[in-house]
């Protein structure tokens, strides 16, 4: 029975990565969520009793606006990254192999510089005495008093800058595999360029798009360094609050509750998507389709 043997081999091969994920991802996540139900002790440790107080504390009047900002920043940055990466991925995939490699290298080169340094570079760039701002003032496009840095918009720009390559790579990979004859077939059947693009190309790179959304949206939700460096108090995100509760207030259960909220926000859509897919497959299987 080669089928069964294959299954067993598959399981064996899965053990290392599954073990790693369980030990360093699932267990810590469960611990963080569990911690949210503990009380905080006055010395910054975790208390002994179970409580729901921490969740009550989430009613903090500052939170709704921070949560809202975190979500819209993540959504907008994801949308901008995807919308920019689709045409870019399409055109890169149509270039000759040589130019494809050169462009991909250019996309990857910035990663050789430490992330923190790149964010600091943005701070310098946007700083009131920085190059960009000075240039704008010189061109009379901006007044010397106005501020580019320490604003929500600055956070948005830097998030987009940071995650665009992560959106581009999976979309490019999908576009590269896409059979461009399908677009010709669509034109031939009467589709305009836009219709062919929307009805044939976009569904054709669906998997790449999904990956791109996940790798941009989830890290964007958890942004901490970017708003910390280029944002100000008016551009705080949940990540900053978690850090503040952990390092400044020394209230680990409260920080855990905030983290749990973030985890829930990410898991819920994924869970809904997966169940819907499951039922769809079950339905089509029972219909014999």
């Amino acid at each position: 029975m080669p089928g069964i043997k294959n299954k067993r081999n598959e399981m064996l091969l899965t053990i290392p990565s599954a073990g790693w994920l369980i030990l360093f991802f699932i267990i810590p996540t469960v611990l963080v969520v569990a911690m949210a139900f503990r009380n905080a002790d006055p010395y910054g440790g975790i208390g002994n009793s179970w409580t729901l107080d921490t969740f009550r504390d989430l009613g903090n009047p500052d939170y709704p606006s921070i949560i809202w900002r975190t979500f819209w920043l993540s959504l907008v940055s994801t949308a901008v990254c995807i919308v920019t990466a689709i045409p870019a991925g399409y055109y890169i995939s149509r270039l000759s192999r040589r130019y494809q490699n050169i462009i991909l290298l250019l996309v990857i080169v910035p990663f050789w510089i430490n992330f923190l340094i790149r964010i600091f570079a943005w701070k310098v760039f946007l700083h009131p005495e920085g190059l960009f701002k000075q240039l704008l003032v010189m061109l009379h496009l901006s007044s010397p008093e106005s501020l580019l840095l320490y604003r929500t918009e600055a956070v948005l720009i830097v998030i987009i800058y940071s995650y665009l390559p992560f959106a581009l790579l999976p979309i490019y990979a999908a576009a590269e595999k896409f059979d461009h004859h399908l677009l010709e077939a669509a034109y031939d059947l009467g589709a305009s360029r836009l219709q062919a693009f929307m009805r044939v190309f976009i569904p054709g790179i669906r998997q790449g798009l999904l990956t791109a959304v996940i790798v941009v949206f989830i890290p964007a939700l958890g942004s901490y360094i970017i708003p910390d460096i280029v944002g100000g108090p008016s551009a705080e995100m949940i990540g900053n609050k978690i850090a503040q509760r952990t390092f400044v207030d020394r209230n680990l259960p409260h920080a855990s509750a905030l983290s749990a909220l973030l985890i829930l926000a990410v898991l819920l859509p994924a869970a809904i998507g997966m169940t819907r897919r499951f039922f769809k497959e079950k339905n089509s299987a029972s219909l014999g389709i």
Partner: protein
């Protein structure tokens, strides 16, 4: 019948490579018109120009009296069946076929009716909601045809539609295609490199070679009266002879063929005494026999040695050496085992044929000899060493 689809002086180059050179063709309404030629002859490019997927460097494409040369592909009343099918992998069979109607905004109810009508035509009603990757090659091909036909194009363009199928399936699909054509009555422009496909399906064939039209005609015209050595050698097998006119008469003349013999030929074109002419004789035109046959007038007869035999069931191929010529002949047998005496290697045989069976070519190129079928290398080497010894 009117001229429906007209190509006027179409030229197209990719870089420095000229793919089509001043090609002019006329396709009549409702016919199956084939573009036949070896790979790289420009046939697919011409089809893509018709579909609007390529733009010609010069020349015009006229469909139903309207110049469509610069029209974008989605605005043309033509649809294509692509060589690799190009079915949309994200859509099932039904949605693939419905694609064109959805684009043009047809009502859902009508779409359903129409799609099922065409599913019935291609006999895939039971597979309507299957994913296309679950279909066999032949089924995919039929979906591609239905997806194109449902838009009721003026011309259906078929780009090597059967190339990816195995032999048996290809033969079945040929019959299916013919039936579909009879049923829908749409003009077909059919691109193929397979002469037997083109012969069995087409009303008219254009033979293309290196971007030029070699000949346009019905399958019988192309086979029986090839204009050039390329057409003669590319479609079926043949033998070429190079001779000088020694005696002109009406309607038969005499040629002296160096290294062969003098032959009587029918005057397919105007010839003068002393002129050099090239003739083509198809292998099946020769009759092969061990005993010298009694022949009426206007028959030619020569004696040769059998060098190679390939038994193919309903017929046998013999390569017979006559002086300097190695001649391919074909002999049908309806009662092989009962034939006089079975011909074998080294036998002396008589080849005979009527003067009408030769065909004078208008144009001959030495390189087209490369298209002829020859016995395998070993036997060719043997034959060559023999003739060297004789010298």
């Amino acid at each position: 019948m009117e001229d429906f689809l007209v190509f006027e002086g179409i030229s197209k180059s990719f870089g420095s490579h000229k793919v089509l050179d001043n090609v002019s063709l006329t396709v009549k309404k409702g016919e199956i018109f084939s573009l036949l030629g070896p790979s790289g002859c420009g046939k697919t490019t011409l089809l893509r120009i018709c579909a609007g997927l390529e733009e010609p460097d010069c020349g015009r494409v006229i469909l139903n009296g309207e110049d469509i040369t610069r029209l974008s592909p989605n605005m043309r009343q033509v649809n294509t069946v692509f060589q690799n099918y190009a079915l949309f992998p994200n859509l099932n069979v039904f949605e693939n076929i419905a694609f064109g109607l959805r684009i043009s905004g047809v009502k859902e109810k009508v779409i359903k009716e129409e799609v099922f009508k065409y599913l019935e035509l291609i006999q895939l009603t039971d597979h309507a909601y299957k994913r296309t990757d679950k279909l066999s090659g032949g089924q995919k091909q039929r979906v591609a045809i239905a997806r194109a036909l449902i838009n009721k194009p003026n011309v259906l363009l078929l780009d090597e539609p059967l190339a990816a199928l195995d032999l048996k399936l290809r033969q079945r699909m040929l019959v299916d295609l013919d039936n579909i054509h009879d049923e829908v009555g749409i003009t077909f422009l059919y691109v193929t490199h397979d002469q037997s496909e083109a012969m069995s399906l087409s009303d008219n064939i254009a033979v293309l070679n290196e971007g030029l039209v070699e000949q346009v005609g019905t399958p019988a015209q192309i086979y029986e009266a090839p204009r050039t050595s390329f057409v003669a050698a590319f479609i079926g097998d043949t033998n070429f002879f190079e001779g000088d006119v020694v005696d002109v008469d009406e309607p038969y003349s005499t040629l002296h063929i160096d290294g062969f013999t003098d032959v009587t030929v029918y005057n397919d074109k105007k010839i003068r005494k002393g002129e050099r002419v090239y003739i083509s004789i198809r292998p099946e035109k020769f009759s092969v026999s061990i005993q010298k046959p009694e022949l009426p007038e206007k028959y030619n007869i020569v004696k040769g040695t059998v060098k190679e035999i390939i038994y193919l069931g309903y017929h046998t191929k013999y390569w017979v050496k006559v002086n300097e010529y190695l001649i391919e002949t074909k002999r049908l047998h309806d009662r092989y085992m009962l034939d006089e005496k079975i011909i074998t290697w080294g036998d002396e045989v008589w080849l005979s044929w009527h003067a009408d069976y030769c065909y004078m070519l208008e144009q001959y190129k030495l390189e087209d000899e490369a298209l002829l079928t020859l016995p395998d290398e070993e036997i060719m080497a043997e034959i060559e060493s023999e003739s060297e010894q004789q010298e």
